[in-house]
């Protein structure tokens, strides 16, 4: 056997270079066939081609083994092998460290609006999560969205141990897509205890909303009282509340209108009752129905303007009420003195997020001052939420001249109050009531201003006892745009395109001259 090999060795050795080139070409074409030309019938083809290539390599080495060995024993051979092996080792170490670094990393978000970080609201919801949720995103691997969604879902995963998330390509995972019933790409499926929720627009708000939908036991209901000239929850006018309704529905509340006159009572499934600036007075039967509702542990948000219907009969049981007259303050926005900019927040669960936020302000229009009776009813605590400055004044009538006079009552006035059962009270009473001296701030016209929407939603969330939702959304700053003057344009052009390069040119000439 060995002697046969010895006899043909010199003859084969002449073909060494041919064998090496032939083997290399075969191995490469084998890999090409494997990756590019997939045919079910010829699955074995690439294996054959590649192994023939490897064989010709082995033959080339075998017939030359003496000279290869003797080369490896020379100084060059030894040093070269040493360098090659250590380079490969180094590369392996670098790849490993890089891989570990890829798995365990820290992301710092340096943007002002914290664009790449989850909002406090989402974090709170995720922290309170008790059920296991699986999230599978189907995105094209080569799309821009793929990584964005993966990073976003990764931060969901980091925030709660109950979430498992992955993003896959629909084309690579047809079985998984079939399991989740997904047929189109750019879809995210949320699954929790057999229930599924499909989101086709990849944003944090949609994802958090889907998680809320899956984990909520039942949808909480909010009734807006209608029939007394209140703001309509479905109207798209400036006066309407349609924007607020949209926000509430995103947070998984069910919003409905309530004609108290016809029903004579507040429905049993009402979680929060909203009375938004009634203009016509309530009937005695309606007042009775409201009283019954509140006494039975109801939750209500009552917003009253200076001209609104008198509801003091309902309110006085809880030690609060409305003063007549219009509130004016020195801090106003725009030219209209009736529009107040409120920055004084008092400590309460509703206002806590505002006190944490750096910039906080509400815009209220035509406010009524609220009063708090000396004696708080037993079992309840009354907390002031918003106040004017001490410079504010109260006018009985809205006339041309609104400047403060001596007779006018001076501030600070309370503009919002919250009534809650005190912690010492027994568990029976669960009444919660928020009274606000303005109903326009939540209308379509004013709700986008400052933190108005957050204040309204926080109030509803607090009343509905959804404490984890009481937060403020990070404000989405619009892109910073501006109108540069002609002079500024000229300056920027001259400085950046001409002056600075010229300075560098002069420096170059200076160096050249000094070296001559």
């Amino acid at each position: 056997m060995l002697s046969a090999f010895r006899s043909i060795q010199p003859r084969v050795r002449r073909w060494t270079s041919t064998l090496v080139i032939f083997g290399l070409a075969l191995i490469l074409s084998g890999i090409t066939v494997k990756t590019a030309w997939r045919h079910a019938k010829f699955e074995w083809l690439w294996i054959v081609i590649t192994s023939v290539g490897v064989c010709s390599f082995i033959v080339a080495f075998a017939v030359n083994y003496e000279s290869i060995l003797s080369f490896l024993l020379t100084r060059r051979g030894r040093m070269g092998t040493n360098a090659l092996i250590s380079a490969l080792l180094m590369a392996a170490i670098v790849v490993m460290v890089g891989w570990i670094g890829d798995r365990h990393h820290i992301r710092l978000d340096w943007t002002r609006t914290k664009r790449h970080t989850l909002s406090p609201q989402t974090l709170k919801i995720l922290k309170g999560l008790k059920k296991k949720i699986t999230i599978v995103g189907f995105y094209r691997r080569d799309s821009f969205e793929f990584e964005r969604i993966r990073d976003l879902l990764e931060s969901y995963e980091d925030a709660s141990p109950n979430i498992r998330a992955m993003v896959v390509d629909l084309r690579d995972n047809p079985l998984l897509a079939e399991k989740y019933g997904v047929t189109s790409t750019s879809t995210v499926v949320f699954e929790c205890e057999g229930k599924r929720e499909v989101v086709s627009f990849g944003s944090e708000q949609e994802f958090t909303s889907a998680i809320l939908k899956l984990t909520r036991e039942r949808k909480k209901k909010i009734y807006f009282v209608q029939g007394h000239g209140e703001h309509s929850y479905s109207s798209y006018d400036d006066e309407g509340y349609s924007r607020v309704k949209d926000f509430l529905e995103k947070l998984e509340y069910k919003v409905e209108g309530l004609e108290l006159m016809r029903k004579q009572q507040v429905p049993k499934d009402c979680d929060v009752l909203v009375i938004a600036g009634p203009q016509k007075p309530f009937m005695p039967e309606e007042i009775e129905a409201l009283k019954r509702y509140l006494k039975g542990g109801g939750k209500a948000l009552i917003m009253l303007d200076p001209k609104s219907a008198d509801m003091n009969e309902v309110l006085e049981e809880y030690g609060v009420g409305v003063k007549s007259g219009y509130v004016f303050d020195i801090v106003t926005l725009a030219r209209d003195p009736r529009v107040l900019l409120i920055t004084n927040f008092e400590h309460h669960d509703i206002t806590r997020p505002f006190m944490k936020a750096r910039a906080n302000a509400l815009l209220l229009a035509e406010c009524a001052a609220l009063k708090k009776s000396e004696k708080t009813p037993t079992g309840y605590t009354v907390t002031e939420l918003l106040k004017t400055t001490s410079e504010a004044w109260l006018k009985m009538e809205l006339t041309e001249n609104i400047a403060p006079t001596r007779e006018d009552e001076r501030g600070p006035f309370t503009l919002a109050l919250a009534v809650a059962p005190s912690s010492t009270a027994d568990g029976e009473k669960k009444t919660r009531l928020v009274l606000i001296g303005d109903s326009d701030f939540a209308s379509n016209q004013f709700v986008p201003a400052f933190y108005n929407a957050d204040f309204f939603l926080n109030t509803i969330n607090w009343l509905a006892q959804e404490e984890e939702l009481v937060e403020i959304k990070p404000r989405e700053e619009p892109p910073d745009t501006f109108m540069p003057t002609g002079r500024q344009q000229l300056f920027v052009f001259l400085w950046s395109v001409i002056v600075l390069p010229l300075v560098v040119l002069m420096a170059g000439i200076g160096v050249w001259l000094s070296r001559r």
């Binding site: 040093m79 360098a83 500024q488 600075l500």
Partner: protein
């Protein structure tokens, strides 16, 4: 008094003596490390001076500044936005063109002139030579980038920018630039021809830039390609995200390229 003290320590307390010796050795070690880095610094500074006496430096700087300035003007004044994400993306592309000019002469020039042998036979290690030259080109990169610092200043004066992403973009540019310089240093170490070094560097950088493009159709490889794409990772920095995984990638790539450069320099001993 002092004599008495020294006598007492040397005779009475042998343990104190050995502690002195340890402190001595520690001091010597620190001095040794200090001088090791001092030599790197000397080599680096010599590189910087040499670079700024050549015309290439000024041609490169003017080319860089005019392009950056024009892009800045277009985005800031015509686009009317203070979001400089696209500006910093473009700066990274321009850097790809000028990095080869910073690194091509590092070893190739000295090898051609025959002064590399002189440097290598002097009592400095190969690592010191490579690190010193790399540091020199890194200082040049820092000087070049610092010339664009007028951008945040002007934007801050005229508009109301969110400066966080600006600083993260600069941090990204430093790490991204360091990786590119290390690749350039490696190619310069392989040849005695500056032009070949520059072309090879540019080709490698271009390849590492476009490697994330043909993601479609390649299947499972696309993710790997995106991971090793230099530019793809840099984009996050310009977005205001400082991610340690990208920093680890750049540092590892820099180390690997410098290691290969050292091995290449060393190979003169056996080739």
């Amino acid at each position: 008094m002092r004599e008495v003290f020294s006598v007492s320590t040397s005779i009475v307390e042998p343990t104190a003596r050995s502690r002195m010796g340890l402190r001595h050795r520690l001091k010597a070690l620190i001095r040794h490390i200090g001088s090791w880095f001092y030599i790197i610094w000397l080599i680096a500074w010599r590189e910087v001076k040499a670079f700024f006496t050549s015309w290439i430096a000024y041609a490169m700087l003017i080319f860089f500044l005019v392009l950056c300035g024009y892009i800045f003007f277009a985005i800031f004044m015509v686009g009317r936005t203070s979001d400089m994400r696209y500006f910093f993306w473009d700066v990274a592309i321009i850097l790809m063109f000028i990095v080869p000019t910073m690194t091509m002469r590092l070893f190739a020039e000295e090898r051609r002139l025959g002064t590399l042998e002189l440097l290598l036979t002097s009592p400095v290690s190969d690592w010191q030579v490579v690190l010193g030259k790399f540091m020199g080109s890194f200082i040049v990169l820092c000087i070049t980038l610092s010339l664009t610092l007028y951008v945040p200043v002007i934007v801050k004066r005229i508009a109301n920018p969110d400066l966080g992403p600006y600083w993260s973009a600069y941090i990204g540019l430093l790490f991204y630039g360091a990786a590119m310089l290390a690749i350039g240093a490696f190619w310069s170490a392989t040849t005695d021809n500056q032009i070949i070094a520059a072309i090879a560097t540019f080709g490698t950088l271009l390849m590492l830039y476009i490697i994330s493009w043909p993601a479609e159709g390649v299947g499972g490889w696309s993710e790997l390609f995106q991971r090793i794409s230099l530019y793809h990772r840099y984009k996050d920095f310009a977005d205001g995200l400082v991610d340690t995984k990208h920093i680890v990638f750049y540092v590892m790539l820099t180390l690997l390229a410098l290691y290969f450069a050292v091995r290449t320099i060393e190979s003169r001993l056996w080739r």
